[in-house]
């Protein structure tokens, strides 16, 4: 037996639902058959079933418990809801906050089905013909009181939204509406509770009905007020607009009721509405359509504050809502309002009325960009509107997803249309509204309103007058009927005494009248009728429009229908029928996303002179994915967040506005209205498909199917969900080899979907994704470290994340991606607690120091090594070798920088280095007698280099002694690589001491060591080859040197060691120059230039050799111009590296 209340499956003989306690079955008094509790008749004997008050009381008792104790949520549901601050529904004021017992009783009565049910009045505005349909669209009044107000279509959506039984919470951008009855406390005290409950029941009707009309949700009933959400559980891209319209309906709807209450009871009540838009965490529980919400404090408190400060009978909204609906309503600015917990007063606005001619919600105020990338489409549209001036009818469909510029294209076509010479023509535009898609003939109502000039505030009499005038265009015999039909469309009671219209006859007659009206009215002059956002048009209007399509062959009528490619929308029929049956008159304009260059152009046109960093620009383009609306919104967000700001500059005496970036800002958040737009799409998915999309968003913009399979608990049906997502163009298959991979169609979609997931669930999902990747790709982890670190960080698994970040950093270093390495290490560091410092801190400080050293940020490198040494000092269990290594690194920096930094920097480095050099020597002395250690060898090498490169005067003796000691220890360690390095150090000393033949001998020995069978350090092998080449060059044996250098080049090229390639090439060039083989010198320079093109000059190095040698060749060949150019290049390079000549250390003659 399925519980009618919460859809839980129960045993067939169950009387009450095991989950919600709802009575789920009753016994037929006639035949004793057990039937569902909501049955009106017995399905065995047909007996009419009467529900006992006892059953109702049982239900009511359960509901009351839920309402009274919202904090007693099911444990699972509560665990899924996270917020910074649990929201307590605020009251209008302190006195009202002490809710009188009678208010509580009223709430109970309201919720108790045994009490007087709320009365649903017949819609006074619904046309006769649609009354039945409207009534039929209401949910049966047998469920909870709230459901009585819910249109059936919305009911279906809500039921689908909670179909999984235990919906988890989500983070959403929601527009929150608070409404309460003002003056109720005093009034309640004057009246008997029963009388007061009657009054307040009536008031609730005026609060609740508009909420559901605009597909919002009543989140909570609060004695004399309600809290409604627009955007949860169902999102619409225009939720703020819906909320404001609902608010206006509330304060307008209460007016006659207020008068009635005043007359009957002599008390004055009124209603006030407060609205705000912001992020909330929404959790749904409960067994009926009521939902409990837990919300982040700021946004919802502000909504409550708006209500509390609103004047009775008004709608007051906060800035975050105002900015989203500004073009649609008339407002009164109220200035800043103090809000507890906020430093600055919040801007508030009173909504006065809906604008008759609403402005564009899209676009950026104050900025206008020429249309980009739509030349062909615009030309097509211009041709079409030119044709209509010659009386040629057409049907045009402008297709494209949200934001691609359908409305803009039509607007440009209209502008052109106004410029084209020819007879006077009509151009009428009607825009369908998302919240009116269930309003029968809403599209035609708006068209008639537009053509006949009927305003939203027109009184019925005025409307009738205007409709009569419209009917005048028809032949006499049709006028009365036409007037009756038009009035019916507007819910006006016709007083012409004609027969009422019902069902099919209404449809038939309406069609005949509208057909006749169009033919008469639009044949007077060529006409363009634009139906924008037609994907939202109601089915009845589309049906009617289908029948009017033949008119395009009879009169000069062009129908332009702009719609999204949503095949399930009624409007899609217009596109297919027009294409099939009116092909000769049909034109389709499909809008595609802009290319990258077009998107770039749009950014340039929006911000006339943008000076924004490349990465920010790239981020804009990536996020917006060629969608002009997205580009505008992203740019708008950047401006609103102060990331891009205008700056006035005087250029040639004229003030010009430039747009400049104040920060990188490339990680800015998705704009709220885009979040809503994308969330609305997401909410149309089945729950399970939506859950799959959410999981995919956690994996990333691209995701392997295998990973998704591993983490999605609905794996058996995963293919179905993925297929659905592909069909809806939310994701697309991006690769099949080496394995199936999908990616989000748009990065903003991924971001929007991801943002709906509660933080706690995100952590869980990220952990599952990380673990799945570790399991699935154990052989490929090296390519995934960064991603794994990302997932484990967001999973809160810091230890694992730090490990992966360090791996990722090492991997980045291997490919010279120093920025990434630095980023990964800092990310790892940020996950560590600041205190107490641990060995992990020490390791990370040292690794960051290494990266700084590689990017030649020597001062910073030394800072990090010193931080590591400080940590080392405080460690309890520490190894001397670590300190030796850190001091050695500092000493090496001083050697490395001797001739490559300016004198001032070198002086700073030198001072620190001297301290480290002393510490290092002390450490080594302290370690004398201990077992040989590789680090000791490295340190001896460092001290050797320091002695001849750093110390002044040069201490060649010490340099040689340190190097010799390093060689001896390396031999003891029997470590070939270490020995090769130590021999290299010794060779350098001999070289420096001009002991050139001894240098050759040591270089040969080093080469021999490096070419042993199990020698594994290829870079060292290259260095050994280069070393012998250099040694032979210094003794003039150029011919012998060349093969070693060529081999060094080949191996270095094989391992892509650009610095070693360049160095070996440089020495070859020197040899060749001295051998007068000048053509070969220039050929080698070409190779070096190619390297420079592929990498950076800094990475390639050896600039001076090549520039000086080639310059000399050109000079010797008499090409002085070229020689001067090389001379200048050499000079500029030196200046770029070491500043002006006076700052150069020495040997500038070279």
């Amino acid at each position: 037996m399925i519980c009618h209340n919460c859809q839980t499956a129960n045993a067939d003989d169950a009387n009450f639902c095991l989950k919600c306690g709802y009575r789920i079955s009753i016994v037929c008094q006639q035949c004793s058959r057990r039937v569902p509790s909501h049955a009106k008749f017995c399905d065995a004997c047909g007996h009419a079933l009467a529900r006992s008050s006892k059953e109702g009381a049982e239900i009511a008792e359960h509901q009351l418990v839920v309402e009274e104790q919202p904090s007693q949520l099911p444990q699972t549901a509560r665990q899924t809801i996270e917020s910074d601050e649990k929201f307590t529904v605020p009251r209008a004021d302190e006195s009202e906050q002490q809710a009188p017992a009678q208010q509580q009783k009223i709430t109970e009565q309201l919720l108790d089905k045994t009490s007087q049910p709320l009365i649903i009045p017949q819609s006074q505005s619904a046309p006769t013909a649609t009354v039945d349909e409207t009534a039929g669209d209401r949910s049966p009044p047998t469920d909870s009181p709230l459901t009585q107000y819910i249109p059936r279509g919305l009911m279906r959506k809500l039921e689908a939204a909670r179909s999984s039984g235990d919906m988890v919470g989500e983070r959403r951008i929601v527009t929150m509406l608070f409404c309460d009855v003002k003056g109720s406390t005093a009034a309640a005290e004057q009246l008997d509770p029963e009388e007061w409950s009657e009054i307040i029941n009536g008031a609730f009707e005026h609060m609740i009905k508009p909420v559901y009309t605009y597909e919002g949700t009543v989140a909570r009933l609060m004695g004399d007020g309600i809290l409604a959400f627009f955007g949860a559980p169902l999102a619409h891209e225009d939720d703020p607009q819906r909320a404001v319209l609902a608010g206006l309906d509330m304060v307008a709807g209460i007016v006659p009721y207020r008068e009635q209450i005043n007359q009957e009871w002599g008390i004055d009540i009124n209603m006030r509405v407060g609205i705000n838009t912001g992020l909330v965490v929404v959790g749904a529980v409960g067994s009926d359509l009521r939902m409990e919400y837990t919300a982040l404090g700021g946004a919802i408190n502000l909504a409550a504050r708006m209500e509390q400060t609103a004047d009775p009978g008004t709608v007051q909204i906060a800035y975050d809502t105002y900015k989203l609906v500004k073009p649609l309503f008339e407002f009164e600015e109220l200035g800043g309002i103090e809000v507890k917990g906020m430093d600055e007063p919040v801007k508030a606005y009173r909504v006065l009325e809906r604008k008759v001619a609403a402005g564009r919600v899209r676009g950026i105020e104050g900025l206008h960009a020429e249309m980009v990338g739509r030349d062909v489409e615009l030309q097509t549209m211009q041709n079409l509107v030119t044709d209509v001036k010659q009386g040629v009818g057409r049907i045009v469909c402008v297709l494209g997803e949200a934001g691609l510029g359908k409305s803009r294209l039509i607007s440009e076509a209209h502008h052109f249309f106004q410029q084209v010479p020819g007879p006077e023509c009509n151009w009428y535009e009607t825009t369908s509204l998302s919240y009116e898609s269930n309003q029968a003939y809403g599209l035609f109502q708006r068209l008639i309103r537009h053509v006949s000039g009927i305003g939203y505030d027109d009184a019925p009499r005025m409307m009738q007058k205007k409709l009569s005038a419209l009917a005048e265009s028809l032949p006499d015999e049709r006028r009365d009927r036409a007037k009756q039909l038009f009035e019916a469309l507007f819910g006006l009671n016709s007083n012409n005494g004609a027969q009422p219209l019902e069902g099919e006859s209404f449809k038939r007659e309406l069609f005949e009248v509208v057909y006749a009206w169009w033919r008469e009215y639009f044949s007077q002059r060529p006409t363009v009728l634009v139906f924008d956002d037609m994907h939202w048009a109601d089915a009845a209007s589309i049906d009617l429009l289908r029948g009017l399509l033949p008119l395009t062959s009879e009169i000069g009528l062009v129908l332009i229908c702009a719609l999204r490619a949503e095949r399930q929308a009624p409007a899609w029929q217009i596109k297919t029928i027009a294409d099939d049956e009116y092909h000769h008159r049909y034109t389709e304009v499909s809008l595609r996303p802009l290319s990258e260059s077009e998107s770039n152009e749009l950014v340039n046109r929006l911000l006339a002179t943008p000076e924004i960093p490349d990465n920010l620009r790239a981020s804009i383009l990536e996020k917006s994915d060629g969608n002009p609306f997205f580009i505008e919104e992203v740019v708008r967000t950047l401006i609103e967040n102060g990331i891009v700001v205008p700056e006035e500059r005087i250029v040639d005496g004229v003030a010009q506005q430039y747009w400049v970036a104040t920060s990188d800002g490339s990680d800015f958040s998705i704009p709220d209205n885009l979040q809503s737009l994308l969330a609305a799409r997401m909410d149309r998915l089945e729950e399970a498909t939506r859950a799959t999309l959410q999981l995919a968003s956690v994996i990333g913009r691209s995701f392997y199917l295998r990973v998704l399979q591993a983490v999605d608990e609905s794996s058996p049906e995963l293919d179905k969900h993925v297929g659905k997502l592909v069909r809806l163009d939310l994701i697309r298959e991006s690769a099949r080899v080496p394995e199936v991979e999908y990616s989000f169609r748009n990065p903003l979609t991924q971001e929007a979907v991801y943002k709906t997931i509660l933080l706690k669930r995100r952590r869980e999902f990220h952990r599952r994704v990380g673990e799945a990747m570790e399991d699935l790709y154990p052989e490929r982890l090296e390519g995934l470290y960064g991603l794994l670190a990302h997932h484990f960080t967001l999973a809160g698994e810091d230890e694992k994340a730090i490990g992966h970040y360090r791996h990722a950093a090492r991997q980045a270093l291997a490919v010279y991606a120093y920025d990434e390495a630095d980023h990964n290490l800092h990310a790892a560091l940020s996950l560590l607690e600041a205190e107490p410092k641990t060995e992990l801190h020490l390791n990370l400080f040292e690794e960051i120091g290494d990266v700084c050293r590689l990017v030649r940020n020597f001062s910073m490198a030394i800072t990090y090594y010193q931080l590591a040494l400080e940590v080392w000092d405080d460690l309890e269990d520490k190894s001397k070798i670590v300190a030796v290594r850190l001091h050695r690194q500092i000493v090496e920096i001083a050697s490395d920088t001797k001739w490559s930094v300016d004198a001032e920097t070198y002086e700073q480095i030198g001072e620190i280095s001297q301290e480290s050099q002393a510490s290092l020597q002390n450490s080594l002395r302290a370690m004398e007698g201990e077992e040989p250690h590789p680090e000791t060898v490295h340190s001896l090498v460092a001290l050797s280099v320091d002695a001849w490169r750093v110390q002044t005067p040069t201490d060649w003796e010490s340099a040689q002694n340190f190097a010799q000691a390093a060689v001896t220890m390396a031999e003891q360690l029997d470590d070939a690589v270490l020995l090769s390095q130590a021999l290299g150090a010794l060779a350098n000393v001999l070289d420096g001491r001009s002991k050139l033949r001894e240098h050759v001998q040591i270089a040969q020995k080093r080469l021999q060591v490096s070419q042993e069978e199990h020698f594994e350090d290829v870079r060292e092998e290259v260095d050994a080859l280069r070393g012998i080449g250099v040694a032979l060059m210094y003794v003039g044996e150029y011919e012998r040197a060349l093969p070693y250098l060529e081999e060094a080049t080949t191996i270095a090229t094989h391992i892509q060691a650009t610095d070693q390639i360049a160095n070996a090439l440089g020495i070859q060039a020197q040899c060749l120059f001295r051998m007068d083989r000048w053509d070969e010198v220039l050929a080698i320079e070409e190779k070096w230039r190619d390297l420079e093109k592929s990498y950076s000059r800094e990475r390639v190095g050896e600039t001076c050799f090549f520039v000086a040698l080639s310059g000399s060749v050109y000079a010797l060949r008499g090409d002085h111009e070229q020689a001067q150019a090389y001379s200048k290049e050499s000079y500029d390079y030196m200046v770029s590296m070491s500043g002006l000549p006076e700052n150069w250390q020495r040997n500038q003659f070279y």
Binding site: V1030, Y1034, M1075, D1076, W1078, G1118
Partner: protein, 164 residues
């Protein structure tokens, strides 16, 4: 600078550099005295600076001999040959130049061979052996042409033309 003929500047810079402490230009790239003496001797030869010629060619010869540096030894021989010629010691000059030429030819350095032949031609010129002058200049021209040393080619051709 040397390639552009700025010999005086070369001397000025290199002689001051000799006084500076420390050797390496950068890690693994030394500026030995060999190369500095070689450049100073060569520049002195171009400027016919007999004092510097004597001084640096001797220093260069000593180091080059010690380390078996053939090209620099040849440069030292040529510088010495020029010094002897300038001193009127033509036999010693010829001996030194012959040693230089033999080494450069053995090493296969055409421009250096050409430059040494020019010195031979200069020696023959002061000895008024016009046949040898013609021969040395012609052979030098061939060497210069092989490396496209335009200024040397032009100078040599000009001399040959003036010789008829």
């Amino acid at each position: 600078m040397q390639a552009q003929g700025e010999f005086a500047l070369v001397n000025e810079k290199l002689e001051s550099a000799l006084e500076l402490p420390g050797q390496p230009v950068k890690r693994g790239t030394m500026a030995h005295k060999h190369i500095i003496y070689m450049m100073l001797a060569d520049s002195a030869a171009q400027m016919r600076d007999t004092v510097s010629l004597q001084k640096y060619s001797s220093l260069l010869e000593e180091l080059a001999t010690r380390d078996g540096h053939k090209p620099y030894l040849a440069v030292a021989h040529r510088a010495q040959g020029i010094a002897h010629r300038l001193a009127g010691e033509y036999d010693e000059a010829e001996t030194r130049l012959t040693q230089a030429l033999a080494t450069f030819e053995e090493l296969g350095f055409p421009w250096q061979v050409g430059r040494t032949l020019i010195e031979f031609a200069e020696l023959a010129l002061v000895q008024s052996d016009h046949e040898k002058v013609q021969d040395h200049f012609s052979r030098a021209l061939t060497e210069f042409e092989s490396v496209k040393a335009i200024p040397d080619i032009e100078r040599t051709r000009s001399v040959l033309e003036s010789l008829g």
